[in-house]
Symmetry: C2
């Protein structure tokens, strides 16, 4: 029926070339979009031009493809490019989808097609997009997670409006598009490598698997510095291996049992829960991780466990059976210890139910503080240097940001992700190292969405409870492992008393009632919601300024005043391109060689 049209469409050879030529440097980043790897995206970033060049490989082109970005990976309210055919000609256009998922051509064409090329591998589309356009319908590409969306058109369509997205094969892929532009540090001459990888396992034919594998360092393995690491992904499994982490086990235990199996297996020994100290982490789309030239992550030697745990998250939505895998992480280490040990510090909120999110909130913000009093006491006079960060929440987390304040003024963003997803927790190198001095304040805010919850979501360890954490990687290592806060529990009790005054004594304020029970009995009207926000924005806090998770620095840490902030940083906004590359006002006709069939 439309075989002819598709055939015509497939003879595209080289098409519209306009605007700037593709850059010299090809595409350092690459990611498969769909689980079958039919669509593959490569890209590079020009911070000078504030633009990204995308190369989309379409392996088995039918009648067209949709590609784009949206707030959280939905196909509604998305910013799209569409390649499509009406059965006669082929078109490339900048489009957008409304809140019903209906697709419309954009009045401003901000994706600029540079090349369309058919090869034996498939069709390569090369196009360019500025980080920000001045079209309010467009997505603003910023630091942190970007939710890429795609769709595959099986049939020619008369117009974009005729696309019914609910009938297409569509999906999403999370990625950090704006990779930091970091020059590779000089590596030592005596570099050794160690591959921590799964031992040719059979990937289970289920959507989600966390695989656990224990390895042991050689006996007598002395103290070394890890200076970089990189992923090893078994060829063919690129679309299945979602993320991987290497943990070091606790030094308190002489030995750990061997294990090779799903992390949630009943056969998994209890003791493996003590293997939680992160040595390395990788997620889809990430490249090698480098420590700064002055620092390395210590492992081996006395006081350090010889046991490591590899965890691999396989994401297998098509439930492919029988696939074998040996993916893992390659650690690069040296015995010539660098000047500084690197450390990891936990910022944000204490895991306690006093910090809670009411149900049915589209955006509710909780904030944790690392106060000036704590940094004054625990940081060296010359300060510390944060070079990487891993953000962490549980299921309702939607945004995370840590800001550094000095003298009551916000000075610098340590890390911000406005499209954070709990399903995509990478360790990210910072674009710029952030130095923290004694007396500085670090403010970590998490935004949650509890629209699908019936009851308040309280802080805690459970997967249905919440966290707000930023693991910052820094040097030189200090004794400060944890700098977090929570609201003062006495003030929370005052809150429950007010709730009762405005309502009909719903909340029991007797001492034997748990905070969890108290939150569960709050009637969530607008007053009680607003007042909880007001409480968290006003009440004094209890600080955890700790050497390890249980040992506090000496001092008074209860009923501390909230840090006062007199000037805040502005959120980044799109820069309109200085001189707008005047794109076409309609779609580009992609020139088609050859005749009909």
């Amino acid at each position: 029926m439309y075989g002819t049209a598709v055939a015509v469409f497939l003879v595209i050879l080289v098409a519209a070339l306009q605007g700037s030529a593709p850059p010299e440097n090809p595409f350092p980043y690459r990611i498969p979009l769909d689980p079958e790897g039919t669509l593959e995206l490569s890209w590079n970033v020009s911070y000078a031009q504030e633009a990204i060049h995308f190369q989309l490989l379409v392996r088995d082109l039918r009648a067209g493809v949709l590609f784009g970005m949206s707030d959280r990976g939905q196909l509604e309210n998305a910013d799209l490019v569409v390649l499509w055919t009406d059965g006669d000609r082929a078109y490339f256009g900048d489009a957008w989808s409304d809140q019903k998922g209906q697709i419309h051509l954009d009045s401003q064409q901000d994706y600029q097609l540079l090349r369309a090329q058919k090869t034996p591998e498939g069709l390569y589309l090369l196009f360019k997009r500025s980080f920000g356009t001045c079209d309010p319908k467009d997505y603003f590409i910023e630091d942190g997670t970007v939710h890429l969306v795609y769709g595959i058109l099986e049939q020619p369509i008369p117009s974009l409006e005729a696309i019914n997205t609910s009938g297409l094969q569509t999906g999403l892929q999370r990625v950090q598009l704006l990779k930091p532009n970091i020059s590779v540090p000089v590596l030592p001459d005596d570099l050794s490598t160690m591959e921590v990888r799964s031992p040719d396992i059979l990937i289970p034919g289920q959507e989600t698997t966390y695989w656990c594998y224990i390895i042991e360092l050689p006996a007598g393995f002395s103290r070394h510095h890890i200076v970089m690491y990189e992923p090893i992904v078994t060829t063919g499994n690129e679309a299945l291996v979602h993320h991987m982490e290497v943990f070091q086990c606790a030094a308190e235990f002489e030995s750990f049992p061997r294990f090779n199996g799903p992390c949630d297996s009943k056969m998994k020994p209890e003791r493996l829960n003590y293997c939680r100290h992160v040595l390395a982490a990788w997620a889809l789309g990430a490249k090698a991780f480098y420590y700064p030239e002055e620092a390395g992550l210590a492992f081996g030697g006395p006081g350090s466990s010889r046991f490591l745990r590899l965890e691999v998250h396989y994401h297998n939505p098509l439930k492919i059976q029988g696939r074998r895998d040996s993916s893992g992480i390659r650690l690069y280490y040296t015995s010539s210890l660098r000047r500084f040990d690197a450390g990891i510090m936990e910022l944000g909120l204490v895991y306690t139910p006093v910090m809670a999110i009411p149900p049915r909130e589209p955006t509710f913000v909780l904030t944790g503080y690392c106060t000036d009093k704590c940094t004054q006491l625990a940081l060296p006079p010359s300060g510390i240097h944060i070079f990487a960060s891993q953000l962490h929440t549980h299921l309702t987390g939607r945004k995370v940001v840590t800001v550094l304040a000095r003298g009551g003024r916000e000075k610098e963003v340590v890390n911000r992700d406005n499209h954070y997803s709990p399903h995509f927790q990478e360790i990210r190198m910072l674009k710029k190292v952030v130095s923290v001095h004694p007396g500085d304040v670090l403010i970590t805010s998490c935004t949650y969405n509890t629209e699908d919850r019936e009851l308040a979501t309280v802080g805690g360890f459970g997967i249905l409870e919440e966290m707000c954490v930023n693991y910052v990687h820094y040097y030189p290592q200090t004794q400060l492992e944890l700098c977090k806060s929570a609201v003062d529990p006495g003030f929370l009790q005052k809150y429950f008393h007010i709730v009762n005054r405005f309502n009909s004594e719903d909340v029991c304020t007797c001492p034997q009632t748990s905070v969890l029970q108290q939150f569960a009995s709050v009637p969530w009207n607008s007053f009680n919601r607003d007042m909880l926000k007001a409480l968290y924005g006003f009440a004094p806090i209890s600080m955890h300024c700790n050497k390890s998770s249980a040992v506090r620095f000496q001092g008074e840490w209860d009923l501390q005043p909230l840090p006062e902030i007199i000037s805040t940083l502005e959120e980044p906004t799109p820069q309109c391109p200085a001189s707008r590359a005047q794109g076409p006002s309609g779609p580009t006709v992609v020139s088609i060689g050859g005749g009909r069939g």
Copy 2:
């Protein structure tokens, strides 16, 4: 010194002509910008193109002019066009000023110069601007008040950055740029006119004068309908006459004393305070006011006072002496009564101290309701039709909006002014008549700025107290004169109790303490501010659903639930021009004929 340059500059004849030609229809709206009338702005509005054509007449051109718009008339953060000379050539460019008032050329040139013409009157500049551009630095021209700013350049400048705005003659003028596009209703054949104007008075040589003058309708003047009115401004005083209102006196009194003098004069008889029923109002830049074809404003006849009060506000910042004036309003009326009497209804907040604004708030919103229960009871089954609106607050008012909601959903904006100024209170004809049916809800919200206040600002009649009112003009007239609300006083007392619980018993909650005293003793920390907002957004209200200011409709009006709104209208946002007229990326050189000197 720079006489030559100025001379060269003055021989501009006809310059750059680009883009669309000036429209057929010339400029229906005109306003002087400065008190001396050196700068005069004319304009027209094209709703089809979403653009305004401006014609700026510069009578005594020196080295250039600045013209533009800003949020509230400040020269900082303003969106500007600048005509300037560097002593050699003349330039026209789109510019913006930063928060320090420093002027920069805009990277996007959105003001489009169409013509520059020297005439014996002065230099005419014709230029065009879209309502919205996609430049975040640009002002978005929307309904309601626009604060125009201007400046006069006395000397050539090497570049825009060299302009020191603090050294210039600058000023602001408020105007409604987006006039409604209403076709003039058919007028009756037996139209009579009556001029209510000041009797050739001497304008006082002080900045602000409100002049009061009482006139009397002829004895036996029967019932008529006013169907339109227009301003009469004495030639030469266009920049001095700021606004004028005609009030009818109360019918309870047989007669009123004659008076002709400043309204704040000690000689003014007390009784004139009973002349407050608005018959007509005009403010700078407004044109004739027309009633809809089906309705007229009744005056004359039994039950209607024969006494009218004219109030003229003279704004005389240069303190010009000896100027005589006979400005006023010309009423057009008919004895062939139209089908419907027009009425005026008061929406918003009751004048009571229970509605208060904390001090030092940049934007604090108070909301008054006209509930479904009241409209159900008081409106006819076929509803009423609002065709005009006058917004009213006292000194801290910054925005006012009234929205109509039906079935819990906001449906339509009755009137919105995002740049409202208490110094510019016009009666504005609506672009679109809004019909209100029994069961509808009218929600009026006012935004206040109390950054310069030390104590809470409470609701009330005093000029330092606040109001939030929308006088809506509608037909057919009903008995409902007032549909307003305020928070329930009992819930406000609960608020003061909570304030005491979180602080040190600052607020006296004994019965003899006035609400004013209670608000004055609240310590304004973030919790007490947030909680007051939460209270106003939650607590039940007391409704005033009144036939006249003292007589309520029958029913229970205390402790009414706040109307529940499940979906809100979005604020208007700039539409990016569909196909952007690609302006120059730098300033336009205005071609100069003739030579030096």
